[in-house]
Symmetry: C2
Subunit: 331 residues, 2 copies
């Protein structure tokens, strides 16, 4: 039965014998009405099954109560993003905001951003036209990791990837690795760029030649395996492999088993992104835990602070990353 006519705030007000205004104030707890009438109004609302009309509310308040979330459409190995999404939704919900998803399929034009109060962009890739459009919208934008393009977002949540990678490399060295190689995504993302340059820097400091292979951001396992195979073939001295695309290290099994027999035994493997796949690989893989869910929540919190004025435009917040050592780096 979808014929029942909608319950508006006037319905409630009438039932409670008060005016629109009083009903509104009571239901939002503005502290303007007496305890007694407030209770009466709340009872009426509950009994009638009143639900506020958000379009009306937002029209009046000149806001939408919604934040947009853009993610790169990377389908393989999406545990990171899924956690990130849940983190954003959880925190946004806590601040009474809804979250609508915008992929790169959403139309261009500023129309996109006109429906939200703010935007969160997870891993903004340089050159993604949708991201470029969103970055120049007139609502506050928070990115997870810096945007490698011209515009600067209003807020950034980022991690000390450089330091974390160095820590990981130091650990490998301690574990006996002499020449670690790197598989890394291209420089479209700030994260991948940081990983790559931290690696090169570390190699230089230790008098090693950097041995890395760059793959596209959304590489499938095929591509990564080929890259690994070629890297190991081209640089026979490599005795440890660090893998930057999320969870991809876990998929290198065939390559590494082959390598372990032709190269030296005790070959080490590590990942720059921890996922269920790395945690439960055989053997479990040492990885950097990027805590995506907390990162997502942090983005939503920062955006909220920007919207309420609690944070200044230009704010950067650091999000902790933790090295998790597992069997794959314990020879």
């Amino acid at each position: 039965m979808r014929t029942e006519q909608p319950v508006t705030i006037v319905t409630v007000a009438r039932h409670a014998g008060v005016s629109k205004t009083t009903a509104s104030d009571a239901l939002r707890g503005s502290g303007r009405v007496s305890e007694q009438t407030r209770r009466r109004i709340e009872d009426a609302a509950r009994k009638l099954g009143y639900a506020p009309n958000n379009s009306a509310r937002h029209l009046r308040q000149a806001r939408t109560g919604t934040i947009g979330l853009h993610l790169p459409e990377v389908l393989p190995r999406s545990d990171y993003y899924m956690s990130f999404v849940f983190g954003v939704v959880q925190a946004a919900t806590g601040h009474d905001y809804d979250v609508t998803l915008m992929t790169s399929r959403h139309g261009r034009g500023s129309t996109l951003a006109s429906k939200v109060d703010g935007l969160i962009i997870g891993d903004p890739l340089a050159g993604d036209p949708t991201v470029e459009t969103l970055m120049t919208s007139n609502v506050p934008v928070v990115t997870c990791e810096r945007y490698p393009g011209d515009k600067t977002p209003d807020g950034v949540v980022r991690s000390e990837h450089r330091g974390a990678v160095r820590e990981l490399l130091d650990h490998l060295r301690t574990a006996g690795a002499r020449q670690p190689g790197l598989i890394v995504a291209g420089d479209e993302s700030d994260w991948a760029g940081s990983v790559h340059s931290a690696y090169r820097e570390w190699c230089a400091e230790h008098g090693l030649e950097a041995a890395s292979s760059t793959v596209p951001f959304d590489s499938t396992t095929d591509v990564i395996r080929t890259a690994a195979t070629n890297l190991l073939r081209g640089e026979p001295a490599i005795d440890a492999l660090v893998c930057a695309p999320a969870g991809a290290a876990a998929e290198l099994g065939p390559v590494l088993r082959g390598a372990a027999s032709t190269l030296r035994p005790g070959f080490l493997v590590a990942s720059c992104v921890d996922t269920p796949a790395t945690k439960y690989a055989d053997p479990p893989i040492t990885a950097l835990d990027l805590a995506p869910q907390t990162a997502g929540a942090s983005c939503a919190d920062l955006l909220f602070d920007l919207l309420t004025g609690a944070a200044e435009p230009g704010t950067e917040r650091l999000h902790p990353v933790r090295l998790t050592i597992r069997a794959s780096t314990q020879p």
Copy 2:
């Protein structure tokens, strides 16, 4: 500079020298205005950077232009859901709907559903209180897979899992398996229930004793490995293992390598859900491709049809599933 006053439809109308209504009609292409003035209005709109106010539009039209998407918050092995989400968003965007995510953290009460025109529930689990609330909302609901509770949703997109599982089992038999075992999620989800009962049925028809182990829907790899180990220990005759939780088969490596040495060689493995993890496991694992992205799109399409009256409440649409044979079942 966020001080510039907003461009409304009146601004556009004034600039084009027409009335509000004409501007509105022109911009929405109602075919009421002359080609000439339409062009003039569109130019003005573009020049002014006009973007329609959705709250106002939706208030007027008594709809929100938004559909809610609820997913079980299953963090491990989330490739399936991520693809599903992108499918929903893509199709919804095509129909000019936004998608907002609702996890089980969203408050109870009908408030939840009052902000959307319709709901999509991916894998509704019996007993999830949020799902129960959503199911009794007064907007159309589409579920992916049937809801194992009392209420019936307005639309269902589902697959012939029973038939697919039988096909998979037949394939295993052809490949030489005499006694396939099953790891399956509990009956909170219709999908898991179907898989389980199809398995039992098939076993009965072939004069075999069903050897299955039930794990929670959101089991981590730990739990699944333990279940597999116990199952293999308890039923030594098992020479093939079918795994129902998404992608989990790929994480059974250690268990199966152990099994392969103590049990008969040529042990077969298959998964009821294809994911990158099964595709790129070592060896690649035979799996049922549930095509989650298309499934998501299908849900959004059905919901749209229900909203526009193009589909009757109670509609069920079938979504194809394909058996993908890989090395893990070719001894």
